[in-house]
């Protein structure tokens, strides 16, 4: 086997840098996502160092990263949580779409993006980062708070909306006619409902096929099945990400718990590679002119997310302080905004730099804002806490 020492060295160094910035992020209880993006930027076209040898692998790893992120999202899902969220928070979800997708679409239109770009930007401003926010709530010890179920319900419904949105976007992106887009979205939603019903009814059988007491076997089987389904979905233009999401959905209960445990390290590695790859694909000279637009959009959609959280929490009878906490918690955008623009890729060249800058801003500002808006009381009570959250 011909091993390139230069590749090993470059990839190894990238991972070391990622671990260092990741440790920094944990220390400041921030998400590592923006720092991974910055690492990619620093290694990109106008960056400090170039990594020509590792580029190809990073590209492939990024594709696996998207698949694993969506698989993990599907594994998180449970029918009980979804129906409970639906029962209480459909109006919140509607408000969420109206308040947060519309500014993105308008901004896309004002910037003169094409139709695909407008649709993608609307999605990118709509979807909060469930990864960042769930972790943040745990770190800030807010899981006991009364507004927290409302926040989590909004996130669950957003994640579910992604399952309909991603196939729509990927069909529109390859230039399909409107009826094709509608058809494929319908098929994807149908598959989703089938997977959901199937997991509810026969989930333990599916679990048995994939499950194995040995972690190694479980990991290989699950990864194999997921990649094959993702490939099938991609070949019918429904996006590999949606295929992976479906696989995640069909596993429930104990099988899902174990699958999460064995896939987690793998997902963390490839997801990090994915964010680096996005950063690599952006040049600073392309991002600089879009910064004012990204900042304006970030400011506007931060406000609209606060309004969303305010409304959702008020539906659960939470008082003003709690509503502010809920609203500011929802501001963070992250992995899924990036996945959305990653799907569109180079078809709209300004989109990736714009959304990268947008996510860089909100993934940092969102968590900071929610931390400090609740400060006066939190300071008195803040526990000395060095234990990493395991969620």
């Amino acid at each position: 086997m011909d091993v390139s020492a230069a590749f090993l060295l470059e990839f190894g160094l990238i991972l070391i840098v990622l671990s260092l910035v990741g440790a920094l992020a944990r220390r400041w209880t921030l998400s590592p996502v923006p720092l991974y993006l910055l690492t990619g930027l620093a290694l990109g076209e106008d960056g400090i160092v170039r990594v020509p040898e590792a580029g190809e692998f990073v590209g492939i790893g990024a594709a696996i990263g998207v698949v694993l992120l969506l698989l993990a999202l599907g594994l998180e899902f449970s029918i009980a949580e979804f129906t409970t969220s639906m029962r209480r928070h459909v109006p919140s979800a509607v408000a969420d779409v109206a308040l947060n997708a519309v500014p993105g679409a308008l901004a896309g239109w004002l910037l003169g993006l094409n139709g695909v770009g407008i649709l993608a930007l609307a999605g990118a401003t709509y979807i909060s980062s469930s990864g960042i926010i769930a972790r943040l709530l745990g770190d800030l010890r807010r899981l006991g708070n009364r507004e927290t179920p409302a926040v989590l319900a909004v996130l669950v419904l957003e994640d579910f909306a992604m399952a309909a949105y991603l196939p729509l976007l990927s069909v529109v992106a390859v230039g399909g006619a409107w009826w094709q887009a509608v058809l494929w979205t319908a098929i994807a939603v149908g598959a989703l409902v089938a997977a959901f019903a199937g997991s509810y009814r026969w989930g333990h059988h599916v679990g048995r096929v994939v499950a194995h007491p040995e972690a190694e076997q479980l990991m290989l089987r699950l990864l194999g099945v997921t990649l094959v389904v993702a490939a099938l979905a991609e070949s019918v233009h429904a996006s590999a990400a949606v295929g992976a999401f479906l696989v995640g959905l069909t596993l429930t209960g104990e099988a899902a718990d174990r699958a999460r445990a064995v896939m987690e390290p793998l997902r963390d590695l490839f997801a990090a590679v994915f964010f680096v790859a996005i950063g690599l694909s952006v040049s600073l000279s392309a991002m600089a002119p879009l910064l004012p637009a990204a900042m304006a959009l970030a400011a506007l959609t931060a406000v609209t997310k606060v309004a969303t959280g305010w409304y959702a929490a008020s539906r659960d009878g939470v008082a003003v302080r709690g509503r502010v906490r809920a609203g500011t918690a929802l501001i963070a955008r992250g992995e899924f905004s990036i996945i959305i623009v990653g799907l569109i890729g180079p078809r709209e060249e300004r989109l990736i730099p714009l959304v990268s800058a947008y996510v860089l801003i909100l993934a940092v500002v969102g968590p900071l804002l929610t931390r400090f808006t609740a400060l006066p009381v939190a300071r008195k009570r803040a526990p000395r806490d060095d234990r990493p959250s395991s969620s």
Binding site: E76, S78, A80, E81, F82, T84, S85, S130, A134, L137, G138, R141, R142, L143, G144, N145, R146, E147, T148, P149, L152, A153, L155, V156, P213, E254, D257, V318, A319, R321, G322, V377, R381, P383, R387, S390, S391
Partner: protein, 159 residues
Amino acid sequence: MDVNEVLLPGVGLRYEFTNRDGDRIGVIALRSGDFEVVLYDENDPDESRPVFRLTDEEAETLAQILGAPRIAERFADLTREVPGLNAGQVEVLAGSPYAGRPLGTSRARTLTGASIVAIVRGEEVIASPGPDETLRTGDVLVVIGTAEGILGVERLFGG
């Protein structure tokens, strides 16, 4: 006693109750198996004050301290009194993933909701076994819980 159960999508479950002193107490069961105990403020009932966190194992130990001895005494009466609660016996079969491993590694209670209140090993009976108790092939576990929970334990310890 009134225990309020709140679903935290993607995170876990939260149980809330008020004790005799009027403290509003919340227990958050995380999906990871860890627990968090919080107290609610009288002034702002929306905000919780963290009290402590427990790992899976610590929570199991605390549960044993608080509940197991009493459950072991009374489980026979309990199963008669509480509709839906059953007692069952589950054998640790050869080839079970937990034969030769500590009871705690199975996370049986977290996963199924059913409690293992005793282990029958030949002539010996280990009442309210701790999470460090190593299981052997042929052990018979005395389980109380819902019929579904007991089935879950059976699946867990089957071959």
